[in-house]
């Protein structure tokens, strides 16, 4: 290394150090600023305002109703990407393991048995209702046959009581 190069390096070393320290301080400042923004409620407020904004909603609606959006969907389906996705998904062992897990879970079996019991309940309600009506009808017919007054039935119990 020449004398000139060494002299230039020695001269620039403090300047490089100062520049590095300044950059480090700048990055630190930026990180703290980002953290403060993320921790504040401002981001949430901005997001809410943006979602509720009439202009943004109108723009979204316009974009979704545009021909471009329809073409985009058509392109997506024509590309065969979705077919490929579902082929891979169905070929995946994990998917069937997950389905087995879900099918065997107590919550799902309880829900299925609840559905079965609910159906039995509905059938039972129907049978009870019809048999009660048949009771009253048979009694009225029998009493009419022998010329007796129909029995005064007590009121149906209130469901809320």
């Amino acid at each position: 290394m020449g004398l000139g190069t060494r002299a230039a390096t020695a001269t620039l070393r403090p300047i490089v150090g100062v520049a590095g320290a300044a950059a480090e301080a700048g990055l630190d400042l930026e990180r703290r600023a980002v953290n403060r923004v993320l921790e504040s409620d401002e981001i949430e407020r901005v997001v809410v305002v943006a979602i509720n904004s009439v202009h943004i909603q109108a723009a979204l609606k316009q974009a979704l109703e545009s021909d471009g959006a329809a073409q985009l969907i058509d392109t997506l389906f024509d590309s065969g990407l979705l077919d490929r996705f579902f082929e891979r998904l169905l070929a995946s062992e994990s998917l069937w393991n997950m389905i087995d897990e879900i099918a065997g879970s107590p919550a799902v079996t309880a829900a299925i048995s609840q559905q079965g019991l609910g159906f039995a309940d509905q059938v039972g309600d129907q049978v009870r209702d019809r048999s009660r009506k048949a009771d009253d009808w048979m009694e009225r017919a029998a009493r009419r046959l022998i010329g007796r007054q129909p029995r005064v039935l007590p009121a149906e119990p209130d469901a809320s009581s």
């Binding site: 609840q114 039972g124 049978v127 048999s131 009660r132 029998a142 039935l153």
Partner: protein, 191 residues
């Protein structure tokens, strides 16, 4: 019409003690209930009978002994059927068929039926069925829808709305979920 006598001392009424508030079960409802019970008893009898016949077929039993076994089997089935009704009537007042139809057999004053009256009622049912089921006809005319067996055993059959099997199952599930939520989460870390 006079009301029923009050429940004996120390026995709480299992349905409304006021006869006016009660709805008595009619003939059709009681027939459906009896059909359910008969189906249940028949299924049990067939399973037990076929099982016993299969076991006995493995043994070489003389013809006379087979006849005696058949008589004993018939007596056991008859006794089982009587016990079925007696036990359900004097415990919950509801056979499974009555539970499906939400009706209940109650004694005077809406109390539980005592075992001896349950036996009397069972005999009453048989007697009512003997003359071409004529003993059940009074259910259509009586103010409290009583048949011969009810008149004999001083019982009435009342409507007893209750939770269905699905409701009971749902309540159980809710209780289990509530209990699991109340349990504190397992604490990790080294002791």
């Amino acid at each position: 019409m006079t009301g029923l006598p009050a429940a004996p001392a120390g026995e709480a009424p299992i349905v409304s003690a006021h006869p006016v508030d009660r709805r008595y079960a009619g003939l059709a409802t009681r027939i459906v209930s009896a059909v359910v019970d008969a189906a249940l008893i028949t299924v049990v009898d067939v399973v037990v009978g076929v099982g016993a016949a299969l076991i006995l077929s493995l043994l070489h039993i003389p013809h006379e002994l087979r006849t005696i076994l058949a008589v004993i089997g018939a007596l056991v089935f008859a006794l089982g059927s009587i016990l079925y009704f007696v036990i359900f009537w004097c415990t919950t007042g509801q056979t499974p068929g009555a539970r499906v139809m939400q009706i209940r057999v109650v004694s005077a004053g809406a109390a539980r039926v005592k075992p001896r009256w349950a036996v009397v009622r069972c005999i009453g049912v048989l007697l009512a069925a003997l003359p071409l089921f004529a003993g059940f006809v009074p259910i259509l005319f009586d103010s409290r829808r009583r048949g011969f067996q009810d008149w004999l055993a001083h019982t009435t059959v009342v409507e007893a709305p209750g939770l269905s099997i699905a409701d009971v199952s749902r309540a159980k599930q809710r209780a289990i979920r509530a209990a699991s939520r109340q349990q504190p989460p397992p604490t990790g870390g080294v002791a």
